[in-house]
């Protein structure tokens, strides 16, 4: 446990000092800011059934596909290329601690980015509430959406780390991660809509899960599914790191 905390602290410090973190933060906030602005414009001209905040959470796929590959591509690929991974594994650190340390640091940053992006709906709510006569941010949607982001990010970041553990090149890692995430979105969607597994496939539909959570329905099955797949992928990442280092 101590080793995990040491590695986590080291990773967080590394992120804090690295310019790329600030670039990714700026990119994420710009992306989300413009998206929210677009949602507000769209809602001012159209009547929609769901709230602006729910729509804001509904575009989770965009930052997932753009930001997660950028956040995770460096983690193992770059360290392996530089030989730092070999040096680290010659110490009593277990591969699992290493994977958990890296995962928690990236997960923490991604959650913080989402938390920061909630400034947009919050300010919009603050300025527009009186004119609209109804709040733009409701606690139910805020909690539901946040839980959704927390659970699905677990799975997405695991996929990113797995992609990074397979190669020495950051570019290849980011492309692999993008491919995995895209397959994940389209695969689960196809599974839930078009196949004969439709009955249980609906539980792995991201959009349906988000809708349920925002409506106050907490179905444990999809949440458990996403978390378990995330854990499984992290275990695969540990195996990949170990096997690649053993060569």
């Amino acid at each position: 446990m101590n080793t995990v905390l040491t590695l986590l602290a080291s990773e967080c410090k590394k992120m804090l000092y690295h310019a790329s973190t600030y670039f990714i933060t700026a990119l994420f906030l710009t992306l989300m800011g413009f998206n929210y602005l677009y949602i507000l414009f769209f809602y001012s001209r159209n009547t929609m059934e769901i709230s602006t905040l729910q729509s804001f959470f509904c575009i989770f796929w965009l930052p997932t596909l753009c930001i997660i590959p950028l956040l995770t591509m460096k983690s193992f690929a770059e360290e392996r290329r530089l030989g730092l991974l070999e040096s680290l594994l010659s110490t009593p650190v277990s591969v699992h601690s290493l994977v958990i340390g890296k995962f928690l640091s990236i997960y923490g940053l991604y959650v913080v980015l989402w938390a920061l992006s909630l400034i947009f709906p919050y300010f919009a709510n603050y300025w527009l509430q009186q004119d609209l006569g109804a709040p733009l941010v409701t606690m139910q949607v805020l909690f539901g959406g946040s839980i959704f982001i927390a659970i699905t990010s677990f799975l997405f970041i695991s996929l990113g780390l797995f992609a990074s553990s397979l190669t020495k090149s950051q570019t290849v890692a980011s492309l692999l991660c993008f491919g995995f995430l895209f397959t994940c979105f389209t695969g689960f969607r196809t599974l839930s809509e078009y196949t004969r597994f439709q009955e249980w496939g609906i539980y792995v539909d991201f959009f349906r899960t988000l809708e349920d959570l925002c409506n106050g329905i907490f179905d444990l099955r999809p949440c458990l599914f996403f978390t378990l797949v995330g854990v499984l992928i992290l275990a695969l990442t540990a195996i990949a790191v170990e096997q690649k280092s053993l060569r």
Partner: protein, 325 residues
């Protein structure tokens, strides 16, 4: 005394390629052992197996009595390793990096500062380099940081893969002094291509070629074993130039290898005796004095490690070639 490192029948395959084959050797505590061998001989593979980074295909490794297959975590705790090319994070300060590695090596918090400072001092990094960014350091200082990292927590065994690669002679001398300081207190195994360097720092040599040990002894013993003759460089005043003729009348077999005229009737002769014993030297000097040749200089020419290395590796190559044919 129990050996610090025991290796028995160690073999490693990479697919169909055999990297090392049935290696057997022991390293005593406090000894500094040099691993020599041409590129692809299996030095790095052996060192990586010794520190638990990669598993062997077969065979056993015991570090201070602990088998590496089952006790790898305990072994890693009592071992320092510097990989080839010494990878270091460029964007960290030296002291900060060593503190992080000390924490990762599970050195107790109360000893952390002392341990880091001790490693910095031993590697002469405590004066200027400690607060500098690793990326801003020279190659020599970076190597020192790598060695300091390996020294953290006073490990019983230190493994250094090519610690002197790419260094200038001054920096090599610094690393050599550092290794000498460790002699007697820590077991050090290191690989190098710089032969005089290995000879100067090591108590023992292991020469690998094509994944097999071709020699394993002290450099002195290896010389005795592989060089059956001794060369002397004798500078005398030889007025008539009869020295070479008189060689056949010497009481023991002497063979003239080279003669160089130095001017003023002074000649330098390189002669070879078939004996490596000390008495040959005294007999030769006595014979020179008995024949009234004014002796100016008498130098025993030790065969250097390079000749030994080339001899051993070429013997192994020839043997392997003949086996293939």
């Amino acid at each position: 005394m129990a050996s610090a490192i025991v290796v028995r029948d160690l073999t490693k395959h990479y697919g169909r390629k055999v990297a090392i084959q049935k290696l057997n050797f022991e390293v005593q505590p406090g000894h500094i052992v040099g691993f020599l061998g041409p590129n692809g001989a299996g030095k790095s593979t052996t060192l990586r197996i010794l520190c638990g980074l990669i598993p062997a295909s077969s065979g056993y490794v015991y570090i201070h009595g602990l088998p590496i297959t089952t006790q790898v975590k305990q072994i890693k705790q009592s071992m320092g390793y510097m990989p080839e090319n010494n990878p270091l994070p460029e964007d960290m300060r030296v002291e900060e990096y060593l503190k992080l590695r000390a924490r990762i090596k599970q050195i107790p918090h109360r000893l952390l500062k002392t341990c880091v400072w001790d490693a910095l001092e031993r590697c002469d990094l405590h004066r200027i380099a400690a607060k500098k960014m690793i990326g801003a350091l020279s190659k020599g200082f970076k190597q020192r940081v790598g060695i300091a990292e390996a020294l953290l927590g006073q490990p019983k065994v230190i493994i250094l893969d090519e610690p002197t690669i790419g260094l200038d002679p001054h920096q090599i001398l610094g690393i050599r002094d550092l290794l000498k300081k460790l002699r007697g207190e820590t077991t050090v195994v290191f690989s190098s291509h710089i032969l005089p360097e290995v000879e100067a720092a090591c108590t023992h040599l292991i020469i690998l070629n094509q994944g097999q040990i071709v020699a394993n002894d002290t450099s002195e013993n290896l010389r005795k074993q592989y060089f059956r003759t001794t060369r002397y460089e004798v500078t005398i005043v030889d007025k008539d130039g009869h020295f070479s003729e008189h060689l056949s009348h010497a009481p023991f077999k002497l063979c003239l290898k080279k003669s160089i005229a130095q001017g003023d009737q002074r000649m330098t002769y390189t002669v070879e005796t078939e004996s490596t014993e000390e008495w040959a030297e005294s007999q030769l000097t006595r014979w020179i004095f008995e024949n009234n040749w004014p002796l100016i200089q008498f130098v025993k020419k030790e065969p250097d490690l390079e000749s030994l290395f080339l001899k051993l590796t070429s013997v192994a190559w020839k043997k392997m070639d003949s086996e293939r044919l």
